[in-house]
C-alpha cells in the first residue's frame, strides 16, 4: 500500500483545534450583529497545530521538485531558484509594507521597481516596461489590449485579426480571444519556422498583430524574424513577443532588435523565481516608445530625484492587477539580475543552449528529432516511430522517467509534432546530471523494444500509479463537503 495522506477533513475532531486568535472572550460581539445578517453554522476542519504540521509535511513529501532533482519540463525553465531570493523577499521592509502608503514611505520598493524596469528595458531592447502583469498569460492579455487600443486610437477598428503560428502555446489564442480579437494561424515550414509564403497569403489589412515565441515552441530560432517583422509593419500591425523562451537568448539578442514592439517575460521561468507549484509568477511587459503611453498604470517614474507611481499615461489600457503586480516575485528577479550582471545572464543562456544541444546530440540516434538543426535552450523529440513499432507512447516514456527519479518533459506540445516530448535542461544542471539523464532515456528506449509490457505499467516507484483522468472529469469531485452531502 502506498504512503498516502488522509484529508485534513478526515483528521478533524470537534473541539480539537488548538490555535487561538484571541484569549479574551471576543464572542460577545456577535450580539451586536443584527440577526438577519448572521450566519448559522458552517463545516470546517478542527485539527490541532501539530497535526496540521504533520499533515502538510507528509503532503509535501508526495511532491517532486527542482530542489530534489532534474526537471526537464520544456517551456517552463525549471532552473535552480537561488535561496537568497527567498531571504530577501521576506525582509520585513518589503513584506510588511502596505501598497497604499504615501510615495515617500515606499521609496525602497519603488526604486527596486524602477531599476528592475530599467534592467528589463536593456535586456529586451524596449523603451518602457510595466511590472504589473502577474504571469505569462497576464502579460499576453496586457500586450494584446495595448495592440487593440493602439489601433483604436488610430481609428483602425477593422484591425481585428491576430496571426500566430500553428505551434503557438494555448495561452496565445486564448489571450487574443480575451482581447476581442480573432485568431488566424500561419503554418510552420520544414525548418520549424514561420512559412513565409503561407504568411504572405494570410496577412492583410485587417491584421492587428502577430504573436510569436522566438525561439519558438519547438526550441528553434526563426532566422527570418526580421523579414517577418517587416511584412507586418508594412500593414501597421504590431509584433508581440511571448518571452516564455527567453532563457535561450538573454544577452545574446534583444527582441527589440528582431523587430518586436511588445514583449512579455516570465520572471518565474527565465529569472529564476520559483514556480510555487503553479504560481505566483510575474509577467512584465516591455514596449517600444510609440506604445509607452498605452501601458497599464501606474508605471514607476523618477521626478525630482524621487521615485513615483505615475498614473499620467494618456492612452493607458488601465489596470490588470489591483495594485502593482506580484511585488515579492519582482524582488527575487531583481536580486537575480544584480547577482549575475550582463555576463552572467549571457553565460546562463549560452550554457542553457549548450546543455540542450548536448542532450539532443546524445539522444538523436534513438529518439527522432523532427527538425534536424541546432536547437536553442530546448528541443522536441517525437515518439511517433516508437509508438508505431512498439505501441509505447510519449506518455509512457514520460511516466517511465518519473520512475527513474526525473520529472517528465512537457508532453504532447507543441501540437504540430505527433507524440511530442519537449526537453529543457536549463543551464543550472551539471554534465553528470545530463549524462545520467541521457543514460536513463536510452534505457527507456531499449525497454520500449525489449519490455514493452513493463513500460505500460509505469510508474511504480512514485507515491501513486497512473490516475484515472476520465473518472475525474466524468463525475467531478472537487469539494469534500459536497461529496459528503
Amino acid at each position: 500500500m502506498k504512503k498516502l495522506e488522509k484529508l485534513i477533513f478526515e483528521k478533524s475532531v470537534q473541539g480539537s483545534g488548538t490555535y487561538r486568535v484571541s484569549t479574551s472572550n471576543s464572542g460577545a460581539i456577535i450580539n451586536e450583529i443584527p440577526d438577519n445578517l448572521k450566519r448559522q453554522d458552517f463545516d470546517f476542519p478542527e485539527v490541532p497545530e501539530n497535526e496540521v504540521m504533520r499533515h502538510f509535511l507528509k503532503l509535501s513529501r508526495l511532491n517532486f521538485c527542482v530542489d530534489e532533482g532534474f526537471y526537464p519540463l520544456g517551456s517552463c525553465t525549471m532552473k535552480y531558484n537561488p535561496k537568497i531570493n527567498e531571504r530577501v523577499a521576506s525582509l520585513e521592509g518589503f513584506n510588511e509594507l502596505h501598497p497604499l502608503v504615501p510615495m515617500d514611505k515606499c521609496q525602497g520598493s519603488l526604486r527596486l521597481m524602477y531599476e528592475l524596469s530599467d534592467y528589463l528595458k536593456e535586456i529586451l531592447g524596449m523603451d518602457s516596461v510595466s511590472l504589473q502583469p502577474v504571469a505569462g498569460a497576464s502579460g499576453e492579455m496586457t500586450g494584446l489590449k495595448i495592440i487593440r487600443e493602439y489601433h483604436k486610437v488610430k481609428g483602425n477598428l477593422h484591425k481585428k485579426i491576430i496571426i500566430m503560428p500553428d505551434s503557438a502555446h494555448g495561452t496565445n489564442p486564448a489571450s487574443a480571444m480575451m482581447a476581442g480579437f480573432e485568431v488566424r494561424e500561419v503554418k510552420s515550414n520544414d525548418r520549424g519556422g514561420v512559412d513565409i509564403e503561407n504568411l504572405k497569403s494570410v496577412i492583410d489589412d485587417n491584421v492587428a498583430g502577430f504573436m510569436v515565441t522566438n525561439p519558438n515552441t519547438l526550441g528553434l530560432y526563426d532566422e527570418n524574424i526580421e523579414e517577418i517583422a517587416a511584412l507586418f509593419h508594412e500593414k501597421d500591425a504590431l509584433l508581440y513577443y511571448d518571452g516564455a523562451n527567453f532563457n535561450a537568448i538573454m544577452g545574446k539578442v534583444k527582441p527589440g532588435d528582431m523587430g518586436f514592439d511588445i514583449v512579455h517575460l516570465n520572471l518565474h521561468k527565465t529569472f529564476a523565481t520559483p514556480h510555487g507549484g503553479g504560481g505566483p509568477g510575474a509577467g512584465p511587459v516591455g514596449v517600444k516608445s510609440k506604445l509607452s503611453n498605452f501601458l497599464p498604470v501606474p508605471v514607476i517614474s523618477k521626478k525630482d530625484n524621487k521615485y513615483i507611481l505615475d498614473y499620467s499615461l494618456q492612452n493607458s489600457i488601465g489596470k490588470v492587477h489591483a495594485f502593482y503586480g506580484n511585488f515579492a516575485v519582482l524582488i527575487k528577479a531583481y536580486t537575480y539580475i544584480r547577482m549575475l550582471g550582463k555576463d552572467g545572464l549571457r553565460k546562463s543562456s549560452e550554457y542553457a543552449v549548450l546543455n540542450a544541444n548536448y542532450i539532443m546530440e546524445r539522444l538523436k540516434d534513438k529518439y527522432s528529432v523532427p527538425y534536424k538543426r541546432t536547437c536553442m535552450h530546448e528541443f522536441v523529440i517525437s515518439a511517433k516511430k516508437i509508438k508505431k513499432e512498439t505501441g509505447i507512447s510519449a506518455m509512457d516514456i514520460a511516466k517511465a522517467l518519473l520512475d527513474k527519479g526525473y520529472h517528465a518533459p512537457t508532453m504532447y506540445f507543441p501540437l504540430i509534432v505527433e507524440e511530442a516530448l519537449m526537453i529543457e535542461p536549463t543551464e543550472t544542471e551539471t554534465l553528470t546530471t545530463l549524462d545520467e539523464f541521457c543514460q536513463a532515456m536510452i534505457e527507456i528506449y531499449n525497454m520500449c523494444y525489449n519490455n514493452a509490457e513493463e513500460m505500460h505499467s509505469m510508474p511504480k516507484n512514485t507515491p501513486i500509479t497512473r490516475v484515472d483522468d476520465v473518472k475525474a472529469a466524468r463525475n467531478p469531485k472537487i469539494n469534500y463537503y459536497k461529496a459528503k452531502l
Binding site: F42, F94, S138, M178, H321
Partner: protein, 447 residues
C-alpha cells in the same frame, strides 16, 4: 555570481561532442549584426553583497508605521506554520502539477483549499485560484455574461473597490460587455430604487455586490437584491472578504451565482500589493464555465484515492481561442498558504478572527468619534469604516509625520470624490498600545 556549474573541461567535452569550435556557433541562426549586444547593467554581486543591497532598499521603506489601512490589503498576523510549510522546497520549487504521480502534495493541498473555500463561502464548487481579487471579479463577470448571451450590461455599484473596477474595465475592453454604475444611497449601500426603476433591465446580465463593500459596510438589503435578481433572471456575483464568512450570512441563504474575492487575509503578507490570491466559487451547474485550474478526486490504477487537474477541456491548452480564460499559471503557493492558514486556525480560530476584527474596528471607531470624527455611514461594518471630519486630509498628513497612517483619503481615489473622508481599518493586530499612540497623536495634531 552565476548558477551554471560547467567546468572548462566539461565545456570542452560538450563542444567536442557537438563537433563545434565554440558555443557561439550554436547561435548562428541569429543575425550576426544583432548578436551579443551591449547591455547596460550594474556589475555582478556576490550573494553577500546582494543581501546588503536588498537590505538597504528594504530599509528605505517605512514598513514599521502604525497602519490603520485596509482598502484591499489587510494587516493580519501570519501564523509561523504558514511560512514554515510554504517555505518547503517540495511546495515552492515544483511546477504546476501536470504529472499527478509526483505532485500529490500540491494537488491534495489545492483540493483542500477548494473545499475550504466552498465551506467558507457556502458555494458548491471552487477553482484552484486566480491572480488576485480584482482579476477574479473581472473573470467572474465574463463567466456570468457568457451565461446571458442576449444581455450585455453588468451593473456595478459605486461602493465597489475602485481598483477592482479599473481592472474590470481593462478586462472587458473589446468584449461585448457594458458597465452601468449603480448609485449608492445615503447609507453607503447600493440604491435599490435605481435597480427597481432601471429601464434597460432586459439587457442586464449580471449584478455585482461587494459585501462588505469598499466602505466596510455589510449589505442589509439582501432580500430585495435576491428578489430583483430572481425576478429578472440576472446572475448575482458577490465579492466577499473570506474572513467575514464565519459570522456573516452567505450562500446558500443568499442566492449568489458566483462568489469571488481576495484571499490575501488568509496568510498572505501585504508585500506592497502582491502576490495575493483571488478565488472563484460557484454553483455546480456553472462548474464547466469556470476559468483556471480545478483539482478533482479520482483513483489510480491500484485503486488509491488521489487527485488530478481536471475538467481541462475548459482550458487554454485544449480549447485555445474557445477557452473559458487564458489563465495558465495561477497563485498555487498562495493557495497552499491559505490552506495551511485555514487548517491551523480551524473553525474556532476562524470565528475568533472574525470576532476580534469586528471588536477592534469598533474600538478604533470609538476613539475617532471621541476625537471629533463623525461616521460617514451608519450601518453594520466588519473591520473597515469611513469617517468624516472637515480637516481630515490635514490630520492624515500630520499623523503620517508621527508614523501613523490613519487609513486612506477617499478623495484620492479617482472614482470616489469623497472629500474629507478617510477609510479606516483595524485588525486583530491593532494593539491597545497603538490605539493609545493614536489617541495621543490625535490630541497633538488637532489642538
Amino acid at each position: 555570481m552565476g548558477f551554471y556549474p560547467h567546468s572548462a573541461d566539461d565545456v570542452r567535452k560538450m563542444v567536442e561532442k557537438l563537433r563545434i569550435n565554440n558555443v557561439d556557433e550554436l547561435f548562428s541562426s541569429i543575425n550576426k549584426k544583432k548578436l551579443n549586444p551591449e547591455i547596460n547593467l550594474p556589475e555582478p554581486l556576490t550573494e553577500n553583497e546582494a543581501f546588503e543591497e536588498l537590505k538597504k532598499l528594504a530599509n528605505m521603506n517605512f514598513s514599521d508605521m502604525i497602519c490603520f489601512t485596509g482598502a484591499g490589503s489587510y494587516d493580519h498576523y501570519v501564523p509561523a506554520i504558514v511560512d514554515e510549510i510554504s517555505g518547503r522546497s517540495e511546495f515552492y520549487t515544483a511546477y504546476t502539477p501536470y504529472q499527478a504521480e509526483v505532485s500529490q502534495g500540491t494537488l491534495q493541498t489545492i483540493y483542500e483549499f477548494q473545499s475550504m473555500i466552498c465551506a467558507l463561502t457556502g458555494m458548491e464548487v471552487s477553482n484552484a485560484s486566480m491572480y488576485d481579487g480584482a482579476s477574479a471579479l473581472a473573470e467572474s463577470i465574463i463567466v456570468a455574461m457568457n451565461q446571458k448571451k442576449k444581455s450585455n450590461i453588468v451593473l456595478i455599484p459605486e461602493n465597489i473597490n475602485p481598483d477592482y473596477v479599473k481592472v474590470i474595465y481593462t478586462y472587458i475592453a473589446g468584449l461585448d460587455i457594458n458597465v452601468v454604475r449603480v448609485p449608492i444611497n445615503k447609507n453607503g449601500l447600493l440604491d435599490i430604487n435605481f435597480l427597481k426603476n432601471y429601464q434597460n433591465i432586459g439587457q442586464v446580465g449580471a449584478l455585482v455586490v461587494q459585501n462588505p463593500n469598499f466602505f466596510g459596510l455589510m449589505e442589509t438589503q439582501i432580500d430585495e437584491i435576491i428578489k430583483f435578481k430572481q425576478e429578472n433572471s440576472i446572475m448575482l456575483i458577490g465579492v466577499v472578504n473570506p474572513i467575514t464568512l464565519p459570522v456573516f450570512k452567505t450562500a446558500p441563504d443568499i442566492d449568489y451565482d458566483i462568489l469571488t474575492g481576495e484571499a490575501q487575509p488568509l496568510g498572505m503578507y501585504r508585500s506592497f500589493g502582491g502576490p495575493y490570491i483571488g478565488f472563484i466559487a460557484t454553483k455546480e451547474k456553472y462548474l464547466r464555465k469556470l476559468p483556471g485550474r480545478i483539482v478533482g478526486m479520482t483513483d489510480d490504477t491500484e485503486g488509491n484515492r488521489c487527485f488530478v487537474l481536471t475538467l481541462q477541456a475548459r482550458e487554454q491548452h485544449i480549447r485555445r481561442d474557445k477557452a473559458t480564460s487564458n489563465i495558465c499559471s495561477n497563485q498555487a503557493l498562495c493557495a497552499t498558504r491559505a490552506a495551511v492558514f485555514m487548517s491551523v486556525l480551524g473553525k474556532q480560530g476562524m470565528k475568533e478572527l472574525a470576532f476580534v476584527n469586528i471588536q477592534k474596528a469598533r474600538e478604533l471607531m470609538e476613539i475617532l468619534l471621541k476625537k471629533g470624527f463623525e461616521l460617514k455611514y451608519n450601518g453594520t461594518f466588519f473591520n473597515e469604516f469611513v469617517v468624516y471630519c472637515k480637516n481630515a486630509a490635514d490630520i492624515h498628513e500630520k499623523l503620517l509625520k508621527k508614523g501613523i497612517m490613519l487609513g486612506i483619503k477617499l478623495e484620492d481615489s479617482s472614482f470616489l470624490n469623497m472629500k474629507d473622508c478617510l477609510l479606516i481599518c483595524a485588525t486583530e493586530k491593532s494593539s491597545l498600545k497603538n490605539f493609545e499612540k493614536l489617541e495621543k497623536a490625535l490630541d497633538e495634531v488637532t489642538i
